[in-house]
């Protein structure tokens, strides 16, 4: 089978700092990583390949430096990496991103075989929208299974797949048709340690680099900033609350003192709490 895994290179947000005065992101030296959610997608694809054979193509849209993330993906065992990079992609919102990625995935299908499954992570840690997966599926007119916890029976002859997906109140088990786009939920698997051979191969493997034109983009106005219906108008820091916390004075009975302060602050709360505690 042929599976395509979409990944994104993101700043390691654990290390992002905002400049206290200018409110801009301090970018110096922030390392980049593969969006952690995408690794669950990649591992799911790898497990299917182990079982059914075939190939995995990883694809990303990003600046030339996103090549690092693709190489990293190769070390885990993906066969092929495609970097979609072009100035015209810059500033894309989710709609413009899905246009570019869907176009590239069509081209991947033509060049390397039609994909059976297309994977994305649940969302990214820098955008947090969870919109790109469903958007790609719609653009490609394929089925979609989001928030998948487990991939079940896969029948490549009948072209069907069963999967369990998380919903608000439980787990929904569905059967649908291939090709299908899957967004994997986090903590559903753990990315493997890549094999030594893959690490060696990844260092030298050619990365397929496509400009918008190479990928078959027909309408550049649908890409990047131009193709984005949303416009970021303002970026600002959350306002600080004027008053800091009232600190409970140290005492022999701090628990008692705290409770007294709480009920002095909000006298109504005592009855509410008593009712709640009474129900325990």
């Amino acid at each position: 089978m042929h599976n395509v895994v979409c990944i994104k290179q993101v700043p390691d947000s654990a290390q992002i700092r905002v400049h206290p005065v200018t409110n801009t992101i301090m970018r110096q030296g922030v390392p980049t990583i593969i969006n952690p959610y995408d690794l669950f997608a990649l591992e799911a694809a790898l497990e299917l390949r182990d079982k059914f054979g075939g190939e995995i193509t990883v694809v990303t849209m990003g600046p030339p430096s996103a090549e690092d993330s693709l190489r990293k993906a190769l070390t885990f065992g993906a066969e092929r990496a495609v970097l979609l990079t072009d100035r015209c992609f810059a500033g894309a919102d989710t709609l413009a991103t899905t246009y570019a990625l869907a176009t590239a995935i069509r081209k991947i299908g033509k060049d390397y075989g039609q994909p059976d499954l297309i994977f994305t992570g649940k969302q990214t840690i820098d955008g947090d929208t969870a919109q790109v997966g469903p958007g790609i599926a719609k653009r490609l007119q394929v089925m979609q299974l989001t928030y998948v916890v487990k991939i079940g029976a896969l029948d490549l002859t009948a072209r069907t797949i069963e999967a369990e997906r998380r919903s608000e109140g439980g787990v929904q088990v569905l059967r649908t048709r291939l090709p299908c786009l899957i967004t994997m939920l986090e903590a559903t698997n753990q990315i493997r340690r890549g094999a030594m051979a893959d690490a060696l191969r990844a260092a030298r493997a050619p990365i397929v680099k496509w400009s918008a034109q190479d990928a078959g983009v027909e309408d550049i106005s649908k890409c990047g900033l131009k193709g984005s219906p949303t416009v970021v108008k303002r970026v600002f820091a959350p306002s600080a609350r004027a008053d800091k916390a009232t600190l409970v004075e140290p005492s022999e009975e701090p628990a008692q003192a705290l409770i007294d302060t709480i009920f002095k602050h909000q006298p109504k709360l005592e009855a509410d709490l008593a009712a709640l505690a009474g129900n325990v």
């Binding site: 992002i16 980049t32 608000e168 109140g169 219906p229 970026v235 009232t246 600190l247 628990a255």
Partner: protein, 382 residues
């Protein structure tokens, strides 16, 4: 280029100049819509929260607020429609069909996009739940319009555009996003981010029925089964009145038990900061914050939590925030209402005992008096 981060300041500056030039065919788009999410016959409360937000937008724009109810025919859909009026809707669009019994992207996307194309709303709001996000992404792509996820604030600008504010860069900054020249302007909001509006019995308004025009044979995906969670269907943590949470400052998984015990005394739900989930001390459904649950309790007690921005955005809606932290400079004291600078491991059991004595005087005699300086880690009896 070695850096992938788009500087927010410059991108904002570059795009702030973008102008509203709404094409003629979009000018007919009017009114605010809220998608009323149902799962297995139950309306997700986030839908009513959105109704409150939608009402404010509609009033500002002087337009109608409509509820969109999509689901199987029957009492549940009818009730959802009627309830929508109580939460502030002027009218309801109802698509009721047996094939909508379970949520399936294909059928729901068709139902919602057909409605939008027929009745043309200017604003469409959905809950940022698993269902809402799955649906919103598909609908926005089908309609080729803008969608802003996980908004924390919705407002209408002087020119009538929706100003959707959301956290960006891991929550360290906020940004306001517009869909200037496409319609509808779509946004999702997470549960508990908006306050729950009052439910006031009102005479039902108009219900507009719309047919789905889809038969089961047309739908590719089949639901094989549904396994409900053992907990109640709507996360009890997000909707709890009292929440007690612990963070890394507790020092050990054993000490997290103290959080659970205090929660039990208060009839509260327990929660935690993200590192505790990462360490495997607590399950991920208990995480509070930007990538966990948003809570809005009457009382929130945070023990050994520093108050990082990603945690803060999930708890700011609480009426009263109590912070227990050994570091008087911890950022949590910047947004907590009441703070105690002390060792949470010692305070939590004393607090549990004191609350119990205070709240259920009948039990007072049975509560062993607690020495605050006593052994911190010992558990109280079963």
């Amino acid at each position: 280029m070695t850096n992938v981060i788009k500087a927010p300041a410059s991108s904002a500056a570059g795009r702030a100049a973008a102008k509203k030039e709404l094409p003629e065919h979009f000018r007919a788009y009017k009114h605010v819509w809220v998608f009323v999410e149902q799962e297995r016959g139950e309306v997700h409360p986030v839908s009513w929260e959105l109704m409150g937000a939608g009402r404010r937008l509609a009033d500002k724009l002087k337009v109608d607020l409509a509820a969109v109810v999509i689901g199987p025919e029957g009492e549940a859909a009818r009730n959802a429609a009627l309830q929508s009026f109580s939460y502030g809707a002027n009218l309801v669009y109802l698509v009721a069909d047996q094939v909508l019994a379970d949520y399936r992207n294909e059928a729901y996307t068709k139902a919602l996009t057909d409605l939008v194309n027929s009745y043309k709303p200017e604003i469409l709001l959905l809950g940022a739940t698993t269902l809402g996000r799955d649906l919103a992404g598909s609908v926005a792509t089908t309609l080729l319009t803008g969608l802003t996820a996980d908004c924390t604030e919705l407002d209408v600008d002087s020119d009538g555009s929706l100003a959707a504010t959301r956290p960006t860069f891991g929550g360290s900054l906020l940004c306001t996003i517009y869909t200037l020249n496409y319609r509808p302007q779509m946004a999702t909001v997470r549960p508990r981010v908006m306050p729950m509006p009052e439910c006031i019995a009102r005479d039902p308004g108009r219900i507009i029925l719309h047919s789905l025009d889809l038969i089961e044979a047309d739908i590719v995906s089949k639901v094989l089964s549904f396994v409900p969670d053992r907990d109640s269907s709507i996360s009890s943590l997000a909707y709890a009145d009292v929440v007690v949470a612990g963070g890394l400052g507790l020092g050990s998984v054993e000490n997290f038990e103290l959080v659970r015990q205090l929660a039990a005394v208060l009839g509260a739900e327990h929660g935690c900061s993200r590192p505790l989930v990462q360490k495997g001390w607590v399950t991920s459904d208990r995480q509070i914050g930007q990538t966990g649950k948003t809570i809005r309790p009457k009382l929130y007690i945070a023990a050994g939590i520093s108050g990082a921005i990603q945690h803060r955005v999930g708890v700011e809606g609480a009426d009263l925030i109590i912070a227990i932290n050994t570091d008087k400079n911890a950022p949590i004291f910047d947004f907590a209402h009441i703070g105690v600078v002390t060792d949470a491991v010692r305070l939590l059991p004393a607090l549990a005992a004191a609350f119990q004595a205070r709240l259920s005087p009948r039990l007072r005699d049975r509560v062993v008096s607690h020495d605050f300086r006593g052994a911190p880690q010992r558990r109280r009896g079963p």
